[in-house]
Symmetry: C2
Subunit: 143 residues, 2 copies
C-alpha cells in the first residue's frame, strides 16, 4: 500500500493521510475543488456554504492554505486573475488560459517531458520548479 492515498480516496482519508484534522470545512472544500477543477477561493466558499450553511471567508482561506501546504491542492495564480485551486498535484503539469474568459485547461509537459526545466543561464539561482503558462483563446472565445 502506498503511503499517500490516491486522489480518488475519500477526503477524510486524504486529510488523515497528511496528518491534518478532519473538519467539515476541509472535507467540503476538498470535494468542491474535486467537482470544479480550477476553482477560485470564492467558488469554494460558495460550494462549502451550499453544503454546510454558514462558513466564514477566513475559514475557506485557512483551509485552502492548509490543503495547499499539505500538497492536497495546488494553487495557480494566473496574472490578472484571482488564485485558483486544483486537485492534480505533484505531476508538474502546466496550463492553457483563455485571455478573454479566463478558462483554464491542464497541459501535460510537452516535447518529451520537462523540457523547460533547465535554463541556459540560471544566474546562479538554485532552480526548484519551472512553470509554463500558455496564453491564448479557448474554442468558445476564438469563434
Amino acid at each position: 500500500m502506498p503511503s499517500t492515498a490516491p486522489a480518488a480516496a475519500p477526503p477524510e482519508d486524504l486529510l488523515r493521510g497528511v496528518g491534518l484534522r478532519v473538519t467539515a470545512a476541509r472535507v467540503a472544500a476538498l470535494r468542491a475543488v474535486g467537482d470544479q477543477q480550477h476553482a477560485t477561493a470564492d467558488d469554494v466558499l460558495g460550494s462549502v456554504r451550499d453544503e454546510l450553511g454558514t462558513v466564514s471567508v477566513q475559514a475557506v482561506y485557512d483551509v485552502l492554505h492548509a490543503l495547499t501546504d499539505a500538497h492536497l491542492l495546488r494553487r495557480i495564480e494566473p496574472a490578472g486573475h484571482p488564485a485558483r485551486y486544483e486537485r492534480r498535484t505533484g505531476d508538474n503539469h502546466h496550463h492553457v488560459i483563455c485571455r478573454v474568459c479566463g478558462t483554464i485547461g491542464d497541459v501535460d509537459c510537452t516535447v518529451g517531458h520537462a523540457p523547460c526545466l533547465t535554463p541556459n543561464d540560471d544566474h546562479g539561482f538554485v532552480i526548484e520548479t519551472a512553470e509554463v503558462t500558455y496564453w491564448g483563446l479557448c474554442p468558445g472565445c476564438s469563434a
Copy 2:
C-alpha cells in the same frame, strides 16, 4: 533606418516612434525602468517623484499602461508579487524568480529555442504565447 527606435534611443524618440505624446511623466518612467529593470509601479513612482517632484499615483499607472500597450515596456506579474516592468520587449524571454527575496533574472529561451511553445494537447485553444517562470533561490538566499 529601422521604423522602431532601439531601446538605447532617448525616451522622447521612443515615445514619438510609437505615436505617444511626450510628457515628463512618461520620459521619467521610461528612464526609471531602464535604470532599475523589473521595477514595480511603486518603484517607478518613487523614481519619477525624485525626478519631477510631485506626480500622482494614477499618473504612474496610466503611464505604465500606455507604455505597456505600446510595447515600450513589458509587464510581468509573478504570483504573489506586485506587477513588475521591464524594457526588454518583443524577444520572448523568460524569468527566474527567487522564492525568498523576489529578485528576478532574465532567462533566454532554453534548450534549443522555444521548446515549450506547442503543448501536446491544446484543448482546442488558439495559443498566442508561452510564458515560462523558473522558481528557486537566488545566489544570496541559497547561502
